[in-house]
């Protein structure tokens, strides 16, 4: 880059960071204001969207940053929720302990499954994550005595002050914001950069001394942990955990959201989650063929808009950088 472009970029960067700040402020106000009107369906859907956003963002550490397409993220989501629910129901564990145990259990499961899955290339990774997740699904579904099978696991609830939807919304907002910040720091850390390097060229990363498998395994565990947090939030919010949380469709939806929002952009998945949730609520009022609809949407996005909504993210970037990038 020559000096002139650099100058432009610096000026542009200041303007862009100002824009980012405005957008962040506007989004914060919007999020804080959602329960103000007391409209219950909005509060409930907003809470669900927060949980979904965290699930998808944790998956994006693998997909967007690590280049690993996990088809089994639902397994960790479900493990988090079921662990907390089972502890609360059968052992009468205090809320905070159960809340912490869920993500830990998910991380442990991720450590075991991940150790087998990161040994090989893309195609094997996809098949193995899908297969192991289906195993988790089958165990939850068939082990009726423990998990309630397809009736779901019910009979536990959060402390009384969290029974109010508005309060739970703010609780979820706080937890999800903290997790998003943690994931942001992880993505921007040297570890996150290393993951990106592995994604772009695993051979080169190996040459410069990166232990590729170990980094991928660590990413898999971290992603599993945060999916577990989302699972616990879901379990306590609905005061129950249901077997479809572990189903293939939950994992597939998360990937669809990544495609919609754009996976190479930190906030892409968050925007994707909002768009997906709005579609998911509004389309079934028009037609019962939701899977057909979302299938056609996937095909259209994959063929004609491969960057997803991330394209519009360029608004937040300095113009000179965008222009530079287009030229390159």
């Amino acid at each position: 880059m020559n000096a002139r472009v650099e100058q432009m970029t610096q000026g542009g960067a200041a303007a862009a960071s100002r824009r980012t700040l405005y957008v962040l402020a506007a989004v914060s106000i919007l999020l804080l204001a959602i329960p103000v009107f007391g409209y219950q369906p909005l509060i409930i859907n907003a809470t669900d969207t927060l949980i979904l956003a965290l699930l998808v963002l944790s998956l994006n550490l693998l997909v967007g940053y690590g280049g690993m397409i996990s088809m089994g993220h639902a397994a960790f989501f479900a493990t988090g929720g079921y662990t907390a629910g089972l502890l609360a129901k059968f052992v009468d564990t205090p809320f905070l302990v159960a809340f912490a145990a869920g993500p830990l259990a998910a991380a442990i499961l991720a450590a075991i499954i991940g150790a087998l899955c990161v040994r090989l290339t893309h195609a094997y990774f996809i098949m193995l994550t899908l297969a192991f997740a289906q195993l988790v699904y089958t165990v939850i579904w068939k082990w009726r005595g423990l998990t309630g099978g397809d009736d779901g696991l019910i009979g536990f609830s959060p402390p009384t002050f969290l029974l109010n939807n508005t309060v739970y919304y703010y609780f979820a907002l706080a937890v999800v914001t903290a997790c998003i910040y943690a994931l942001y720091r992880i993505c921007e850390s040297p570890f996150g950069r290393t993951l990106t390097a592995i994604r772009d060229n695993p051979d080169r990363a190996t040459f410069i001394g990166v232990n590729v498998r170990a980094k991928q395994w660590t990413a898999f565990i971290i992603a599993g942990f945060f999916a577990g947090v989302a699972g616990v939030l879901q379990a306590y919010f609905h005061r129950g955990m249901f077997v479809n949380a572990a189903h293939f469709i939950t994992s597939a939806d998360a990937l669809v959201i990544l495609l919609l929002g754009g996976s190479r952009w930190f906030v892409g998945p968050l925007i994707g989650a909002v768009v997906f949730k709005i579609l998911f609520i509004s389309i079934p009022t028009i037609t019962v063929y939701w899977p057909l609809f979302i299938g056609l949407v996937i095909l259209a996005v994959a063929l004609f808009m491969p960057d997803g909504l991330a394209k519009f993210g360029d608004i937040l970037r300095p113009k000179a950088i965008v222009r530079e990038r287009k030229r390159a």
């Binding site: 997909v63 280049g67 397409i69 088809m71 087998l116 040994r119 090989l120 290339t121 893309h122 195609a123 094997y124 996809i126 098949m127 193995l128 899908l130 297969a131 192991f132 289906q134 195993l135 089958t138 165990v139 068939k142 293939f248 597939a252 990937l255 669809v256 990544l258 495609l259 996976s263 063929y289 899977p291 057909l292 979302i294 299938g295 056609l296 996937i298 095909l299 994959a302 063929l303 491969p306």
Partner: protein, 288 residues
């Protein structure tokens, strides 16, 4: 008792082989991991129901279905390759995987639209609804049809891939598609025909499976997961690996049911984990 498990193990091995060899071929040549492979299998079971129920007056309803349905499924596969997958070769892997998920959604939803949610029974072909005796046990004679058909298709694939000009081109394209193109091979035609062959094999599997398991929404995921297990154990891209692994897994499933009926699949996953630790690329897969 053991003989009966042996025979039902062979039956599931035949169907697993049909599924996994198609999946393996498509991956080996087109480098697309077709998650919708089970959806093509599902489509075939319902088409088998449609053909056999329409032609129930004739004696040959099942055999007509066994010819027509795989052709129809192969046609769907070819159309999917031409309109969809061809545009995504070389794109990032998320963009290649998601359309196959989209196909799962679209196919299963269309099946629900045409045939509803209820499981449908497909009759055993006329002339094969009696039991036969072998080694002192009785088993449905239809099982023999499935095993023989599986073996014949395995021979046919071997012949196509190793003894015909077309097979030579397939092997050339799968080894080095750019070099093959440079030498004048019309690679696009090869891709389309391999997609059609692979999905057609899933179609044969679906038709053969229909009289045993019926036509059921939900078989798509079961089928693709078991095909994955076979491919992981046998090695991705190796048709022989698929054959050996299908036999191993078919037997494991059949005998696993005797020990823990609820979790027979656990044995399959156990085998998969052991193979992955000892020989990550599968029993017959090329080393990386």
């Amino acid at each position: 008792m053991i003989e009966l498990q042996l025979i039902s193990g062979l039956v599931s091995a035949a169907i697993l082989f049909l599924l996994a060899s198609g999946l393996s071929l498509i991956f080996g040549v087109c480098h697309v991991l077709n998650l919708a492979h089970g959806a093509f299998f599902l489509l075939a079971t319902f088409l088998a129901y449609m053909v056999t129920s329409q032609l129930a007056v004739t004696e040959f309803d099942f055999w007509i279905a066994l010819i027509l349905v795989p052709l129809a499924v192969a046609g769907v596969g070819a159309v999917a390759e031409i309109t969809l997958f061809r545009r995504l070769y070389g794109a990032n892997i998320l963009l290649q995987v998601l359309p196959t998920i989209a196909l799962i959604f679209i196919i299963s939803d269309l099946v629900r639209f045409f045939w509803g949610l209820e499981p449908l029974a497909v009759p055993t072909p006329t002339g094969f609804n009696f039991p036969i005796e072998l080694f002192g046990v009785f088993f449905p004679s239809y099982y023999a049809v499935v095993v023989v058909a599986g073996a014949l298709v395995a021979l046919l694939i071997w012949f196509l891939v190793y003894k015909t000009d077309w097979g030579l081109l397939i092997r050339a394209v799968s080894q080095d598609r750019d070099m093959a193109r440079a030498l004048g091979v019309k690679a696009n035609r090869i891709f389309t025909s391999v997609f059609a062959l692979g999905t057609g094999l899933a179609g044969v599997g679906g038709v053969l499976f229909a009289p045993i398991g019926g036509a059921n929404l939900g078989t798509d995921m079961d089928a693709v997961i078991e095909a994955f297990a076979v491919v992981v154990v046998g090695g991705l891209g190796s048709v022989w690996g698929s054959a050996v692994a299908a036999l191993l897994i078919g037997m494991l499933k059949a005998f696993g049911i005797l020990i823990v009926p609820q979790f027979a699949l656990a044995f399959v996953f156990g085998l998969m984990a052991i193979v992955l630790v000892i020989r990550p690329t599968g029993l017959f897969g090329a080393r990386e």
